[in-house]
């Protein structure tokens, strides 16, 4: 007893243990932070049986870098979400929550192809807008739902840009043209577009339009000619789009869930809302008006030199 009691060290108060726990908790958080830097893609994948993937804002390849946060839909991130949902055995279907006016050509096609590669049943839920490239993405799903007043359709391509040669002339600013090929600076905002350049651009746009119509015709099981008649770039409201065969049903989230419940024979739907987790900088930046940023960004990208990149107009749909 004496021998044992001599081993009982000075009794430590709770302060020691509290400091210890704080230290251990801090070390765990530090390590978790370090690991997440290397492996975490910053996307949240909660559990559920139906993944909901947001497609909101302009469709682009990667999120805007810099201090100001962009509400752009990143094709890189959306494809990651699609692939994650595809690999997750617990996920039986995917809902694409679409609220986008469209975006860039290649990122749109990338997302559409990823949806087609996926083995999961999918549905598009168009909210305020699902136009142009966003409509192309919606058409790649198995069923399209839209509100009766959703802005959809707008099947077409745009490559318009601001041209400042007149303004430069007014202020006696000259554009010194140094190029290796005659079309190298075609689409430059600092000079008039020649008729040859216009023809080349128009040709590009027409080809892209053809791809767009072809994709919609195949996805919607419509004749190419019928789609082409609708491909004037016109926006159709949801109820119009249904009459034209561009969407399947008028409805919202509940209707989409009901569809998937029947289609997949599920007793209940548990939505797993996939989303990009915003960093602290992005959250701070999002207090600024994103619309103003996008306009400024568009003008700025037209004016600013991009170094080695060809100076052609940004083509969108």
């Amino acid at each position: 007893m004496k021998k044992t009691q001599s081993q009982i060290k000075q009794k430590y108060g709770w302060g020691f243990f509290i400091v210890l726990l704080i230290t251990f908790g801090f070390l765990s958080m530090i390590f978790a932070g370090i690991v997440s830097l290397f492996v975490d893609d910053g996307i949240s994948y909660p559990s559920g049986n139906i993944a909901m993937i947001p497609i909101k804002g302009m469709i682009m390849s990667d999120p805007a870098s810099g201090f100001i946060s962009s509400a752009a839909a990143s094709s890189t991130e959306i494809i990651k979400m699609i692939e994650k949902a595809d690999k997750d055995a617990a996920i039986k279907g995917i809902i694409f929550e679409i609220d986008s006016p469209g975006g860039m050509v290649v990122p749109t096609d990338e997302i559409a192809l990823a949806i087609k590669r996926s083995n999961k049943t999918s549905a598009a839920w168009i909210r305020s807008a699902g136009a142009s490239g966003a409509y192309w993405i919606a058409a790649s799903t198995d069923r399209i739902f839209a509100h009766r007043m959703s802005a959809t359709g707008s099947i077409g391509v745009i490559g318009s840009y601001l041209q400042f040669s007149g303004l430069l002339d007014k202020y006696n600013v000259t554009y010194e043209r140094l190029v290796s090929g005659k079309y190298k600076d075609m689409g430059s905002p600092y000079k008039d577009m020649t008729s040859e350049e216009r023809e080349i651009f128009q040709n590009l746009i027409d080809k892209m339009r053809h791809f767009f119509i072809e994709e919609i015709a195949e996805s919607r099981n419509m004749d190419y000619d019928d789609v082409e008649k609708l491909a004037t770039g016109q926006i159709y409201l949801g109820y119009e789009a249904k009459e034209l065969g561009l969407i399947d049903e008028i409805g919202g989230k509940e209707e989409v869930k009901e569809y998937l419940k029947k289609e997949l024979n599920l007793s209940e739907i548990e939505i797993a809302q996939y989303k990009k987790e915003k960093s602290l900088i992005a959250m701070l930046g999002s207090v600024f008006n994103d619309n103003s940023f996008q306009i400024g960004r568009g003008i700025g990208s037209s004016i600013a030199s991009k170094g080695a990149e060809p100076d052609y107009p940004m083509i969108w749909w």
Partner: protein, 166 residues
């Protein structure tokens, strides 16, 4: 209560005894587990949910066993095991008690003169969730329940005891 062996004068055919000391040690252990869960494991919960489609730590352990997890999951699991080991080793070596043991009035003492660091390390190696230590996850509680001395095998090997002071 002193550190003498238990002498309950039970019939010889009785295979196990679960007495208050066993209950106290078990409660102390669960208190420690709760604290560990909150302090050490919870910072990794969200990250593990993102890394593993199944989405929970217990399912992560199942995937670990099948070697299907991303390398980061192994790194996290190893880190957590090390932290848990350090928690028990550090507290028991410096104070003779973990938080659970402190709440339940239990102390870790040595059969020799002084409790040494090597003894504390040895008695806590059972924490590591890989072979051969993981075998102790079954053997240690078995020894506590089915031996007269109510000590874990790790206690016996490390020549330590857990006692209660009134």
């Amino acid at each position: 209560m002193d550190d003498t062996d238990l002498n309950l004068n039970l019939p010889k055919q009785r295979a196990s005894v679960i007495n208050s000391e066993f209950v106290r040690r078990t409660i102390a252990f669960f208190i420690d587990l709760l604290i560990i869960q909150f302090v050490i494991i919870s910072p990794f919960r969200e990250l593990l949910r993102r890394l593993i489609p199944a989405g929970s730590f217990s399912k992560a352990y199942s995937m670990l066993s099948a070697s299907q997890s991303p390398p980061a999951v192994y790194a996290i699991s190893f880190f957590i095991a090390v932290m848990i080991f350090l928690y028990f080793t550090f507290t028991e070596y410096i104070t003779g008690q973990s938080i659970g043991k402190k709440i339940m009035g239990l102390y870790v003492v040595s059969e020799t003169e002084r409790l040494s660091l090597s003894q504390v390390i040895l008695r806590n190696l059972a924490i590591f969730p890989f072979f051969p230590f993981i075998v102790l996850w079954i053997i240690d509680p078995g020894f506590m329940m089915f031996t007269k001395t109510q000590r874990r095998l790790s206690d016996i090997i490390s020549k330590t005891k857990v006692i209660r002071l009134e």
